[in-house]
Symmetry: D2
Subunit: 380 residues, 4 copies
């Protein structure tokens, strides 16, 4: 696989998909061909068996080509990565039936063959807080019926299946389960996504009124959302970060090209802006890679969590800040639609706003630095 | 005239014109009805006889309703204001024929009756530097023929006449004259404007191949561009600033509405962001109003120039910075297209990039603070 | 009075008093000679009858000469200004006896003749919160006995009398009264002041065990602290701000001198730093003067309070930020002790930390911008 | 060796040496006892044989204890490290006589036994630019006589020998040689160091009028300054950076202690300031350690140089910024002299001002990002 060449092709198409706000079909055809949908899948199931650190390396590069594509890929990698990396003993400890393993392997093997998964977790009222999910499920004879509505579903309409969080309609307490719901008639896309940036993620709303088989229940047991919730969101937070480092790198690359081409590269303030942006991006990348190594080596520890928050905060802020500053250096001619810096200025602003936001990460990090344990109070 | 009500109506339409990238027809119908096209015109010619400080007050308010509309209005006000405020003695001193005064009065009286003027100064190669203008004119029997191309012409296609800077095609040295060219067949709009922000200014390119009468020559003498150049650009720079203070105010207003509505207004970091934005906007507005008073009372003095640069720098930077921070406070839901904060984030970025850019203003102010006289080196 | 000359002399001595951490005797001899101790005293009592806006103008200039001197002067001006500006009707409304007016006039007339007053409000436990004051008073036959300890008493050991806040020892509820306690044996200075910046304010601790006459009770009635509290702290907050604008101005002046002398003034980054500092200082000064006009014209209104917080925030932050940036432009040679920029870097950091701190002001302003009324919740 | 315990002891004494502006005798007694003066010395000569990356680890820790001590140690480590790490072939290539190696080994072996070396490179006129050095040497019968004056000599008066850069008095062109000049009668300290921060480095001036033996000539050949110059300054730049990461860490530690102790750690703005400071320091440390690995693995390459500038820029800026912000969170009580945060606020400001300054590093990095090669233009 020639990743740099693939990234170049993505970069060349990014403007088109951004303008249209459409799912980057060609990018995913390329990713599929390159076997990247199986990145997180164990070799025994036909995949690459990548670690979180390996994923991060890929995500930074994809993000530097096309941020929106990298964000959709990130969702797929989070589903497959969380499934692949959750240790068997932990799954058993949570009471999963032995049938879980066969089911999980089928899901992963399909990814290795090119199936694309998306995440349908957030809801308009609940935001990204799992415990407030309103989408409900109830048992049928042969499986479950799931009804409700989701939002911010990146890749909606183009995934083969959706990871859906839903609550047990018959239980008084918040019993949240995960289902892998295949695309089909009961899964309707409401095209609500028309956003400032990252427009090609097609993160539309999803209306659900669908029946699924028994083995769509992830983990094989109800109420197991907590199981994946401990791994998944961390995955998501840290994996967003890698994408935005890629976006920030892209700002440097397109900024340098524009400034050199226009003969502005010798202006002192242009050099100063580029120099300071260079340091910020280099620093953010080191933090994100360090967090990735922590997640790989010591998942879930307080120290690892702190690195994940640092990664999320610095990647989101850095992308937005360098896009802001480099666009100023580049000048009015770079604000025409279709110019990469115009798109990047919009794309880059989105990172700090995705959960956990920069302000929330700062608060948790501050609490930790001051001797509190934010893990005890923060819930998903 | 009920300006606040007019501003409210503009505010309600801003999203529509931004989405379409179209000239805000209804806003200008309202401005015309309210007599605001005659704002700078002396009362004896049917106008309001506003000072630059008066203009600034109006522009801040218009900018808080719809930035793009205020920028187009700013161009019109710059043309009429520069004509109305240039003292008769100065005009005579520059050798203008007596016919100038009648011609000028016609132009101003037409504005008071609803004519809209635009500025066609910048060119793709020359940028905003007058001395590098390539659009050329030559004498015909009855007047002049003007040929060339302009860019960044706000209101292109909707103005009744364009203030065009052109060089004498027959002269070896840069002899630049101004013409007021009526809209018509020889003035063709090339719809190139498709920008990150301030999309409704329709600042398209203009292709010129047109013959004009003798009295289209502004000032009545060739090479007089310098005359207006001393007043105009200063006018432009300082008047941009007022618009961006309006934009910044608008960020506060829409930010407060969004945050209160969503129940986010009690979060400490939200309060901190809004509080710091409040101070920045208040400070920027004071600087811009102070500069306006300077331009009114002591136009062209070194002290006045410094205030103009300060106004330009702080207004552009403040608008962009508060839009950046308040959008972060507002969160992902405010990044949907059509949300005022989404538009303001894009509109607000444009101010610092319009000439003189913030970095250029900082350089000039630094030079002045260190005992140099930037007036001696900076040219238009 | 030749204020600029006086300021120059103060500027020349600032380094000496900073190094020694000693009360600026010569500065106050000059201020006394110039009649400035009577600045706030009505003309009928021998003073200048200055408004708050007039005071602000003087304070900015004094602060640009020697910040510490200006801060001590500010305390004196706050006492005399609050006494002079509180309307007679308001005083009567609060139930003050007629004897109050003669007593007040004596205090003010003494200032016009050169008496210096200091403020002893803060305590180590209570900070600057009036309601938590522990210094107590009880009635004696002929007046009151006051016992307790104060901190941050600028000018301690050099004032003729101290405005002391104390609680009624015999009352269960927090009944706070103000006393003007003459310097003397029962008022002992504990030399605790040895600070990063503003070293010459000699803001030492004060141990009080002293008996005072009946008419030392300010306002003539107990529990009237609230009366002055509504005026005083506002006075203090807004008047600090003026001093730090002076400090910020001083940074520009000394920065320009140092950079020009060393031939560094043509470096682009030096110009950029000076240019941006110039705008910041100009903006901060406008905000502080605007707040001063508000306090003069419409004291105590919600709008005025907002301007006071804005003034405090922007003055403190601006002084600290420009000192930080200009010292960086000036380079290592400006960090030698005795260099004005070295002192200013330390002095300038103190403004944002004096109550109300910048973070507190931002919180209040944010609350106000979001529709809350911080006046209702914030207490002194 | 128990480095953390040693660092704790240094931390406990830092305030005392800062107040006195005196050489930290006890710290160096401890460093000597711990064998750290031989850190860079090869094991065959009695040392530890540390790499640059090893040094960085030690320097960060020492800097978190006492910045000034770490800066003096840094000079010693730069001399011994540059000598130890310059490959023999390179030395031979430059034409050094075989006697060089014995002489070098003597110098290094002495360090392992506790000798302390200082650097006397900067001069008042020349700054840190080697080519402008005015200190001169001429041949005597038995060696050289060196005359001139140096400035910013950290550890002056306490080192056993000084690395002195001097020009050949008899040559027309700038032929610069290095000498290791033993302390003694001809080396007089002029106590000029009285600085804002890093006061205990005793970086006084040095007056030189001294005769030295033949083998004091470093490298054994004249004009070889270039040899060490290629290694040394890089060493210095990157090694400063490690110290300031230590200082920044120290700000976090003392900030957390102060804030927790005062019960301020639950305030939202305090948490936000600490959280953001935490990310900045973590990022700066990763950059500095990355640069150290580059210097270790691939000294002198363009990529390594960029990492060195990044390290210098981010370490200096981060230390200064977090000291600024955390002091603001800590409040006025932390500005009393003797409080660690008061000292750190002054110490931390010095890093960005040491050569290469942050603005210079940003300029070089910007040039590199824009396709220029700053190595070609920048000279020492």
């Amino acid at each position: 696989m020639d990743l740099p060449a693939l990234v170049d092709r993505m970069s060349g198409r990014a403007s088109k998909y951004d303008a249209a706000g459409e799912f980057p079909e060609e990018d995913f055809a390329d990713l599929r061909d390159a076997g990247l949908l199986g990145l997180m899948v164990p070799p025994r199931l036909g995949g690459t068996g990548a670690s979180f650190a390996d994923y991060t390396d890929v995500a930074v590069q994809l993000g530097s080509g096309a941020g929106a594509t990298a964000l959709i890929f990130n969702m797929h990698a989070s589903v497959t990565g969380a499934l692949a990396h959750t240790p068997d003993e932990l799954v058993r400890q949570f009471g999963a039936p032995e049938s879980f393993f066969a089911s999980r392997d089928r899901v992963l093997a399909a990814a290795a063959e090119g199936a694309l998964y998306a995440v349908a977790m957030s809801e308009r009222e609940a935001g990204s807080r799992l415990s407030k999910v309103r989408t409900a499920y109830e048992r049928t004879g042969s499986g479950f019926r799931i009804t409700g509505a989701k939002t911010f579903v990146s890749g909606a309409g183009h995934a083969d299946a959706y990871l859906v969080a839903a609550r047990d309609a018959t239980s008084g307490e918040p019993r949240i389960s995960y289902f892998l719901v295949p695309a089909g008639p009961g899964v309707r896309v409401r095209p609500t996504w028309d956003s400032l940036g990252m427009r090609a993620t097609t993160s539309h709303d999803l209306d659900l009124d669908v029946e699924v088989d028994e083995d769509a229940l992830v983990g094989g047991i109800e109420g197991a959302a907590l199981l994946l919730a401990q791994v998944m969101p961390q995955w998501l937070v840290a994996s967003y970060a890698a994408v935005y480092v890629g976006v920030a790198r892209s700002v440097l690359r397109h900024g340098a090209a524009h400034l050199t081409e226009r003969g502005l590269h010798t202006l002192p303030m242009v050099r100063a802006r580029m120099g300071r942006a260079d340091v910020q991006v280099a620093a953010a990348e080191l933090v994100v890679r360090r967090a990735a190594r922590q997640v790989t080596d010591d998942p879930g520890s307080p120290e690892t969590n702190r690195w994940v928050w640092r990664a999320k905060l610095i990647a989101g802020d850095t992308a937005a800040e360098v896009a802001f500053s480099v666009l100023e250096a580049a000048g009015a001619s770079a604000t025409r639609r279709g110019h990469p810096l115009e798109r990047l200025y919009r794309d880059a602003r989105c990172g700090a706003l995705q959960p956990a936001t920069s302000d929330v990460c700062a608060d948790w990090l501050g609490a930790a630095a001051l001797g509190d344990n934010p893990d005890e109070v923060t819930r998903w």
